[in-house]
Symmetry: C2
């Protein structure tokens, strides 16, 4: 069996259980399903959800340090090292010394990185639209806003 297959299908029997109201479970499930979708969508550009996130921030113009990436993506700093290593190896990003602090390293997208990023972005957008097909535009915006607020006060 594969996990991402049954999305938006009819409600399974167990969805009656009050566990189906646990925010934690809902998040886990929607994320699990979405992850599979996103990874599938990103396979064309040889990225995974994770490396895509890093590339996305590297190409954002915000000049993130690795520590900022770690915190923002809820990953351990050591995981960022591996992700950036991989992207750097492929010539999609470069590490630069921090502007004011020589301990930090800023991760920046290269032109090639920007190119891949544009493709990846389009793919992910399509994948998300797909996943949230059951919600109309307003509901989708509401969901986004609520998630953001829950996260960042």
């Amino acid at each position: 069996m594969t996990i991402g297959d049954a999305v938006g299908t009819t409600q399974p029997r167990l969805a009656q259980a009050s566990i189906a109201d646990d925010i934690g479970l809902l998040l886990a499930k929607l994320h699990a399903v979405g992850s599979v979708r996103n990874n599938r969508a990103l396979a064309d550009v040889q990225l995974r959800e994770r490396s895509y996130s890093v590339l996305r921030l590297a190409c954002s113009g915000l000049e993130p340090t690795q520590r900022e990436l770690a915190e923002f993506l809820s990953l351990d700093p050591s995981q960022i090292v591996a992700l950036v290593d991989e992207l750097e190896r492929r010539g999609l990003v470069v590490r630069e010394q921090g502007r004011t602090d020589r301990r930090q390293k800023i991760v920046l997208g290269t032109p090639e990185g920007e190119r891949i990023h544009a493709q990846a972005l389009a793919a992910v957008r399509a994948s998300e639209r797909d996943q949230l097909a059951a919600l109309d535009d307003e509901e989708e915006a509401t969901l986004r806003a609520l998630l953001r607020r829950a996260l960042w006060h």
Copy 2:
């Protein structure tokens, strides 16, 4: 560093990036943060988020088969085996033969399982309330409803 520490803190610099609107990332992050919290809350009763979910459904009265658990929790059937093994070893659940199909196994909470489950439920509820402190009751209900709808048509 630990991941769950900074929740609901002030908005980090990177939250400006348009990536902060990616539903996928928002879900991943909220889930990651919540997961750490839940596991922390469940440590008292020696459960993890996963085993808690299984125990919860086992105690729901819905008499779930292992396959139903796998699908509902977005896990591979083989992962359910391990989770149920562990709970059964601790005497919290039992496997019963399927009512109509002898291949399936129904997972049921024991009295002791119910007892632990009640404690775990309270812990998780508190943890969730904590995580969603920024949302009022109505918003929380909206979030729940939107997540449910996105998942099950």
